[in-house]
Point group: C2
Chain length 234, copies 2
Amino acid sequence: MDETEKLQTHRRGSGVSTVYETLRNEIIELKLPPGSPIDEQQLSDRFALSRTPIREALVRLAAEGLITTLTNRATIVSNIDFLGLPEFFDALTLMYRVTTRLAAANHAEGDIAAILVQQKAFEAAVTSRDVLGMISTNRDFHIAIAQAGRNRYYVELFTRLLDEGRRILRLYYSSFNDVLPRQYVGEHEELIQAIINRDVTLADRLASAHADQIVGQIRSYITADSRQNAKLAL
Amino acid sequence: MDETEKLQTHRRGSGVSTVYETLRNEIIELKLPPGSPIDEQQLSDRFALSRTPIREALVRLAAEGLITTLTNRATIVSNIDFLGLPEFFDALTLMYRVTTRLAAANHAEGDIAAILVQQKAFEAAVTSRDVLGMISTNRDFHIAIAQAGRNRYYVELFTRLLDEGRRILRLYYSSFNDVLPRQYVGEHEELIQAIINRDVTLADRLASAHADQIVGQIRSYITADSRQNAKLAL
DNA sequence: TGTATTTTTCTTGTCGACAAGAAGTCGGCA
DNA sequence: TGCCGACTTCTTGTCGACAAGAAAAATACA
């Protein structure tokens, strides 16, 4: 592979963040699929850095749960925990609701503009049928809402959940049809309007429905797919 | 200080965890007060380890937000963000409610026993007027409940919030009187009963009230204290 | 005597090398 | 031929040293 991204002019502290962000993206985009072994030496060569900064980046990723380190042995990209999906959906739904509620209650000047930017990007991705773009712009849209809600604890957990969701969706994105995405655009617009009107109750109800919609869709992808697999296995 | 805890027989991967846990505890117990500078060399001497494993522990702590690293300059114990307290209380209350609800819905064999153990410990701390013990056993009690709820995302966030709360409470623990703690014991028992009966609605209501109680108490400590400070400052 | 600039010093960030532990390999034995 | 044990090799964990950046100290100048 032609992976030599040797940025020889890194100012002192930048190397670690670069490695961290690059790997993080590759994990979330499944460019590094779950279970992939992560070799420090290899990364060291690839980024033209010593193993020490690589290691620091890996520790950060491990703290986030994106990679799993078997002590004294290998370190691999964390598997997607399908048994834990109900927990995941529960937390995701709660965060959808809570962040949207708070956005309606707390948004200040400029927040709406930021949200609209993301919504435009999402709409563009939908019209151009860019499924991968839809997944990531949808994430950015909801994070923008969460940030308008001004609660860093929720923003952090929500970000983690949405990124975990991106990994799952990537596994199934082929199954997207173009009816649902259109619907999402409309739902997003309703959401924005409720936030602008500071209608907390409505925002909550819409967010709740939106979350159910998304969770339901993911669920249907997964069950459909696992049936296929089950057929093959038997 | 007589801080030479040179455990010369550490098996290979253990050093990092030891440093991590030790520092984590000292930060939460305010043995290392907010703003304290953290010197890698010093820790290196203290734990009889090279700077490399020390650094890894620090990266983990930084990922958790317990320490703040000023790039190329010092790294210090994170300050307690008093401006962010409303966000903190909001998230804390939500986690109290959600984890208790889930415990009532999902608890399995053995969970109740684990909760009762922690409740006993809390009760003991209250009767012996051990305020510091009360703070930490209360945390353990609620984490036991959260674990019975079987949602790792909530458990993780809740743990972080409760530990952050421990830091705050340590600042004000002198103000504890022994009326409220008694009341907490009773509230805990009601909570347990609701969980055993799988009464989700009641569990939610009780948790909500319990959270309000605690938040209210912390708030009163802080405002009282900050008035004192304000007097001094003017 | 006060301020600006250079120098020194100290801490962090990075490096290459070494050591320990585990998996895979090879050989011996039944 | 099949299984058990020593050996080799490969990856991770740790170390001591060096380099860069920033604060503090010292010096020069007005």
